[in-house]
Structures are given as structure tokens and as C-alpha cells.
Subunit: 212 residues, 2 copies
């Protein structure tokens, strides 16, 4: 067993705490009960060392022996492949898991992150916000609601796809985007009730609080 090292910022402002993307990775690591330690990179002064590990100067990245991996979706795929706990081995379920992982990244989050930026910047009036609001609520959440009304987890059993989708939906819920989607809301609550999520969330909050 090599030493897994998760790198996140040393500090972030209050607003993103609980939503920084190292949370997804902490959650998966806790689900798989893999030993790991957390290292930090400066939030305020992002230098060459940061760019060498993450070309867009984001976090997190994971070090696994000789590998260093950025992009939370790619790290989750990597951790999924390390055991059969979070990535099903059955051919069809494994394919479904990867498909929903990408759907969370590229169908759901591609709409929800821009929409949340409008909210963060208090620009929720006007034509462009209306476009993004329709995209998130009618073209994404409403359709996911139909899927989640019929299943507990996206790919048979709980998987990396759920870690990602629950985390994406949490941000939508922060700005009341799930108010008309009870199945999505219940799904987020199921995810957040897992001991591994609670541990990951408490750890991230404590990590940033300690830096204040």
C-alpha cells in the first residue's frame, strides 16, 4: 500500500467551505477506508509548484506513489479502480457508473456551476440568468428527478458516480434549486447521511477553520 496524499488549499474564504472539491476525494477515501494524509498549497499565492501539479491552479490533486492526478473526476475514477467498493465490477453496472460520473461532471455541473456563479454574484435577474435557470431546473434537475424517483443510487449500488452527483446537487440545493425535486433532495440527504460523508465534511471544515 503506497501512501496516498491529498493536496488542498491551506485556507479558503468562508463561502466555499464545505464545497471545496477535496471533499469528494475525502469522501471516497473514507468510504474505501484507505489511509491518506492531507497536504496544502497556498490559496493566495499560487506558484510554479502548484502549476506543476495542477495546470489550472485548482485543487485537489492526489499523489499515489509515482502518480500525481488532478481533476476530482479523474481522481474518483482512480480510487474506484483501486477496489470494488465504489466502482462495480459487473460489466453493465461498471459502464453505468462511468456514464453517470461523466453526466455529473459534464451535463449537470456544466449547467449548475455557471448558474451558481449568477447566485454568488447576486445577478439573478435578466435574460441570461433566465437561460441558465431553465437549463438547471427544467433541462437537468427535472429530468434527473425522473431517474431518482425510481432508484436509490445511480448505478445499482452506491458508487463514485453518487459521490460526484450528490456533491454537485448539494451546490444546487444551496441556492434552492432542488425545491421542486423531492427525489433529488432525498437522494442528497441519503448521501449526506453516510458516515464517510460526515467525516469528510467535518474534516474539511476543521481543516480550513484551523487556518483562520
Amino acid at each position: 500500500m503506497t501512501d496516498l496524499i491529498l493536496t488542498t488549499y491551506d485556507w479558503v474564504p468562508e463561502a466555499p467551505r464545505g464545497f471545496v472539491r477535496d471533499l469528494r476525494i475525502r469522501w471516497a477515501l473514507e468510504e474505501e477506508a484507505l489511509p491518506y494524509r492531507v497536504e496544502t498549497t497556498p490559496f493566495k499565492d499560487r506558484g510554479p509548484e502548484h502549476f506543476a501539479h495542477q495546470p489550472f491552479a485548482q485543487v485537489p490533486w492526489l499523489t499515489d506513489g509515482d502518480l500525481t492526478i488532478f481533476e476530482s473526476g479523474a481522481i474518483l475514477l482512480h480510487l474506484g479502480e483501486m477496489s470494488d467498493k465504489l466502482l462495480p465490477t459487473d460489466r453493465r453496472a461498471r459502464s453505468e457508473c462511468k456514464e453517470w460520473l461523466v453526466a455529473a461532471l459534464n451535463s449537470m455541473e456544466m449547467a449548475s456551476v455557471p448558474w451558481s456563479i449568477f447566485h454568488f454574484m447576486r445577478q439573478t435577474e435578466g435574460q441570461m440568468f433566465g437561460f441558465f435557470d431553465n437549463w438547471v431546473k427544467d433541462l437537468r434537475v427535472k429530468r434527473l428527478e425522473t431517474v431518482l424517483a425510481q432508484r436509490e443510487w445511480l448505478a445499482g449500488s452506491f458508487s463514485i458516480a453518487d459521490i460526484l452527483m450528490v456533491d454537485v446537487l448539494r451546490l444546487i440545493d444551496r441556492f434552492s434549486g432542488l425545491d421542486e425535486a423531492p427525489a433529488c433532495k432525498a437522494y442528497v440527504e441519503r448521501g449526506m447521511a453516510r458516515p464517510a460523508f460526515k467525516k469528510a465534511y467535518a474534516d474539511q471544515m476543521a481543516h480550513f477553520a484551523a487556518a483562520d
Copy 2:
């Protein structure tokens, strides 16, 4: 060898032609010289059959024997795993390929698609467009430029990560977002010069033109 079936719309308006996401899959299939056929789903009337294959009523999806897969990123992963042509077998290069595939989907395209919507809707004035313009050009393209100034392809040899990233950058280039990024522009040109891209592009254009 099972029969691969790629499903796309029967018709789309002029504006998205050449950019519909079946192009990414055609391109990969041509690179791998895999036999496939194209089927269609109605663009204007998206019914239960469509939702059964693609919960957000988008295209494409791929049928491979008993599997049906949506999300272009997930389909590319699946096709990559079918041979060693587009997904390196070396452990480190394979990890890099998946990391850049996700980066194209979730770091680059998450910024570029909203930005392109502002362009399509001719809303390129004001604070919110300024935010997205900075996100695409300064926080994404400029940083990718540094990476591509030093390498021909993202993960050693040409891979599914390049198919995705070139396709994402093509849309940015459509609205002049690469004008200050010569290495990105040259990379897009290298990708588009490949016979498999040319075949895929010509096939998509012919497919939609035949439906007019």
C-alpha cells in the same frame, strides 16, 4: 466483434452543424477503424424512447451489444478501453490521459460552453459576460497554452483526451477565444488535419444536409 451503433439527431439547425457531439464519437471510431452504423432520433419531438437511452434527451448514445452508453466522455472512455490505440496502456500515460479527458469536460468545457452561450445569444457586454470571458481566456486557455507550448498531444501520444480537448477548443476558436493562444490554435489544427477527423466532420455535415 459486436455491431456498434451511434445514435444522433435526425436533423439539427445550421448553427450547431459540425459541432454536434456525435462528431467526437465518429472521430474516435474512425481513428480506431471500428465498423459502426449511424441511427437517428428525432430532434424536434423527443419522446420516451429518447429519454430511455439518454435521460437529458441529448445525443449521442452508443450501443455496443447489450450496453447502451450516453455522455460523449463516457463513450470515449469505453472506446478507448476497446483497443490500445487511443488510451495508452502504460500506467502513467493512461492516468494522464484520463485526467486530461476529465479536464476537457469539467475544467475547460464547463467554462467554454456557458461563454459560447453568451456569444450565441449576442450578450457579450456587461459584468457577467466579463466574468465568463476572463474564466475562459485567462483561467483556462492561457494556462492550457503553457502546457501545449511544450507538447504535441496531452498524454504522450494522440488519445481520447485530445479528441475531446480539440473538440472543446474548436468551439472556443469559433468565437475567437484562441486568438492569443498560438499553441492552442496549432494543436487544434493538428487535430483537424487528421484523416479520421476530416472523415468524421464530412460525415456529420453530410448526415444533416441529407435531412434538409
